[in-house]
């Protein structure tokens, strides 16, 4: 939207966190087809989902200046997927995000001498529209897929492409999968209440994944996968006052997963673990456990997720701008987080109705890596209602 001021637009500046939630990270997700997805969909399916994401306000003692309220985001997702002939599928996804709230600008000292956050001020609002299309070709021993994506918002533009493949062993018990993706992005921050120092910068990411999954028994399967992502270009957050990051980031992630069906219980146990490491000094562990119970009134699935990360080498609670690289962004700090969630899904004729609710709570003491807690780490609620319809 160019260089209009917040006063001209009636809005505050767009924010890095807005950009964060509105950018297309992982929106060409995990194209790691699984062992059971060996056939195209039999019927055309359409779906729509609405989600509300609400961050807790910061405590008054943690804020130096600015609003305490943080982000409130409404997300609408719509999609259609259809079989084409006997061997192809085509899919189209559209997502719209409407955001408002405030984000941390920098960390300084409060009157009591404790670290406190200067917020960007209230009344930030932004919209993002994203469109993606994908296709998949199925053959006897696997499938090949590809997709393109374009995401546009007021201060960020992303164009991404991905290709993936999955190949089964002769006995069908093992599946090898691989995928590559690339994204070319532009960031053009809006000049507003927060001064920004750039007009337009570019960043790119290139990513590759290999994995293998294995059927163990009639009721269990496991997988292991490894991904590598190279980000380069302007990786600094333009809306942070004290932020100067390297222009390259090499990221590795190792994933493990298991699925276990319990016939006597008509339940399913799902477990996923990830170890992440990058050359900014961040290490992270993520563990997610779910149990799905089939009932007469649909499937009920409680889940828990634990996350812990060690801070980036150049992070400090109050940034030291005399260094070559520095940041006070809480997302690069040491902390841990626990998510508790529940989902309910029910099929009624050709419809499926889904409800989700989850609570994310973070704390410096929950982390495994030590380090001082950043004052702006976030807690949030998220609720989702989804409906799909199958044409048969």
């Amino acid at each position: 939207m160019g260089r209009q001021s917040a006063a001209e637009t009636g809005r505050g500046p767009a924010s890095p966190t807005l950009t964060a939630l509105s950018s297309s990270a992982l929106l060409l997700p995990a194209y790691a087809p699984d062992a059971a997805a060996d056939a195209p969909p039999e019927f055309t399916e359409i779906g729509i989902r609405y989600s509300n994401y609400q961050e807790d306000a910061l405590g008054a003692e943690s804020v130096i200046i600015g609003a305490r309220e943080r982000y409130d985001i409404d997300v609408t997702q719509a999609y259609v997927i259809a079989p084409v002939g006997d061997s192809w599928s085509l899919g189209l996804d559209v997502q719209h995000d409407a955001m408002s709230g405030a984000s941390p600008w920098f960390v300084g000292l409060t009157a009591e001498g404790q670290p406190g956050v200067a917020m960007s001020g209230a009344s930030i609002s932004d919209n993002r529209l994203e469109v993606s299309a994908n296709t998949r070709y199925y053959f006897d021993r696997g499938s090949l897929g590809g997709g393109v994506l374009h995401s546009r918002e007021d201060d960020y533009d992303a164009r991404a492409v991905n290709v993936d493949g999955a190949f089964n062993s002769e006995d069908g018990l093992r599946t090898y999968s691989a995928s590559v993706s690339a994204s070319n992005d532009k960031v053009f921050p809006v000049q507003g209440v927060i001064p920004v120092r750039i007009d337009e910068e570019r960043r790119q990411s290139r990513s590759v994944y290999v994995g293998v999954s294995q059927i163990l028994t009639q009721t269990s399967l496991v997988r292991v996968g490894l991904s590598y992502t190279l980000q380069d270009g302007y990786l600094t957050d333009p809306y942070k006052f004290f932020d100067q990051r390297p222009d390259e980031r090499n990221e590795w992630a190792l994933g493990l997963g298991q699925r276990l069906y319990l016939p006597d219980w008509r339940g399913t146990l799902r477990a996923d673990y990830r170890f992440y490491s990058d050359d900014w000094g961040v290490d992270a562990h993520t563990l997610r456990l779910e149990y799905s119970q089939s009932t007469l009134w649909g499937d009920i699935t409680p889940y828990v997720r634990y996350y812990s990360q060690r801070q980036a080498d150049f992070f400090s609670v109050i940034a030291d701008s005399r260094q070559e690289f520095f940041a006070d962004d809480y997302r690069l700090s040491s902390f841990g987080a626990v998510t508790l969630g529940m989902r309910w899904e029910m099929d009624v004729r050709n419809w499926r109705v889904s409800l989700f609710g989850e609570r994310y709570q973070s704390d410096g003491d929950l982390g495994l890596g030590g380090g001082e807690e950043a004052p702006a780490i976030v807690d949030f609620w998220r609720f989702t209602l989804g409906m799909t319809y199958r044409f048969d």
Binding site: L26, A36, A158, S181, R206, I215, G257, T286
Partner: protein, 71 residues
């Protein structure tokens, strides 16, 4: 990173070591929706996007989509 690669090789080798034979007609449970690696693609997109914008880590299964202004 070398730790990740080494662990991946070790775990992949363990998987490839072979397990009991499960015939195609014995895979009904495995084809249940909840047994899929991703049982709800749009939910996975939403939560991965949310978490990766609040945390430093991302990836693990599949190549990243990129286009991220969040980190």
């Amino acid at each position: 990173m070398s730790r990740s690669v080494a662990l991946f090789m070790l775990l992949a080798a363990a998987l490839l070591a072979g397990c009991e034979t499960v015939q195609p007609w014995e895979r009904a449970y495995l084809s249940e929706r909840e047994m899929q690696w991703v049982s709800d693609g749009r939910e996975a997109v939403l939560i991965n996007h949310t978490y990766s914008s609040k945390e430093a880590a991302s990836g693990g299964f599949g190549a990243a989509g990129g286009g991220c202004g969040c980190r």
